[in-house]
Amino acid sequence: MAYSEKVVDHFNNPRNMGSFKKDEEDVGTGIVGAPECGDVMKLQIKVQDEKIVDARFKTFGCGSAIASSSLATEWLKGKTLQEAQQIKNTDIVQELNLPPVKIHCSVLAEDAIKAALNDYKKKTEEKK
């Protein structure tokens, strides 16, 4: 099965690839992995006034995993923390036309979003 056009596009022109400094106060970092295939995904958000102003990812895995995380960073930008919490892996599957065997890649991206949000929440709570 060939990758969909959108997957290929994200793979060839990944959006927001890179990273922020992990220990900065306004950055939330999520690192997750898929034990079935060994893919590792890092997703970071930069937050100002409860709003995600920027996002970055680094993914070491298959094309679908890279595309899922690239798309996730695009969607995250401009969202409030609460809105970001609502992003579902099924939205990613739909947008990228992922076949059943690649659904776990979208799950990984959702997990990474949740992990980044949690990390940011923990950081701000510790500050209080």
């Binding site: 690192i31 992995g33 034990p35 590792v40 070491f60």
Partner: protein, 245 residues
């Protein structure tokens, strides 16, 4: 473990799985054979039958590979589609289905890692929580290594001195990782033996205690962790090899 012992005392599981069925052709009772005693027609393997039962082995992790192979050849001959060319369509279907299941069962059990993965799937219901927390340290390590690999790829065009020192560092990393892979394999085999000891059904074996359920879950959990970490490590080692080759 001997094959003799297994034949004399088939596990309860295989008896039950076979006993509830009857011959699809003549409706007579089937008592644990692959062929009906009355009409001699081949019988389909139950879809719920696990691979261990299918190949006549107890559900243990250290298995007798010679016994596995012998049973596989034995059944392959019995079910092979070539021998059903002149039989009815139903028998041809059964021969094909049985052969396919048999091949998958054999491939799965022959390989120690696939065998362990399969056992974990089978046991998923009996252990409360085989899911493990993600190995955060390992992820960090992998990300750092991947960054080194990126630097290596970027430097390989222009800076020969930087390339040489990065190559030395990456080669050392690779050696350490490969040593860890070997340690993991060794630990996996230890866990195999621990699992098997907990399932020893011989009369002289220690009786099951409330602890043994906990022990089983602990073994399953560690095995799950080990197999996942093994996959992550394998990927990074492969990347290291491909990039520095």
């Amino acid at each position: 473990m001997t094959t003799d012992g297994m034949q004399k005392a088939p596990t309860k599981r295989s008896e039950l799985q076979m006993a509830r069925s009857m011959c699809w052709h003549c409706q007579s009772e089937i008592t644990g054979e692959y062929f009906c005693e009355q009409c001699v027609k081949v019988q389909p393997l139950s879809k719920e039958m696990d691979y261990f039962t299918c190949l006549g082995l107890p559900r243990l992790l250290n298995i007798d590979l010679a016994a596995l192979e012998a049973k596989f050849y034995d059944l392959s001959r019995a079910f092979h589609p070539d021998f059903y060319q002149r039989k009815t369509a139903s028998e041809q279907d059964i021969s094909l289905g049985n052969s396919a299941m048999l091949n998958t069962a054999y491939r799965t059990l022959k390989d120690p890692v696939l065998r362990a993965e399969y056992l974990l799937r089978l046991e998923a219901g009996s252990a409360k929580d085989i899911r493990t927390s993600p190995p955060a340290d390992l992820f960090e390590e992998i990300l750092t290594l991947q960054e080194d690999l990126e630097a290596f790829r970027a430097a390989s065009d222009q800076a020969p001195a930087a390339v040489a020192s990065l190559r030395t560092k990456l080669a050392a990393d690779r050696e350490l990782l490969e040593q860890r892979q070997r340690d993991m394999e060794a630990r996996l085999l230890e866990l195999f033996s621990r699992w098997d000891a907990l399932h020893d059904r011989r009369p002289q074996a220690a009786p099951a205690t409330p602890h043994s359920q906990q022990d089983k879950e602990a073994v399953l959990k560690e095995m799950r962790e080990l197999l996942s970490n093994r996959t992550y490590l394998r990927n990074i080692v492969n990347d290291l090899i491909a990039t520095t080759a």
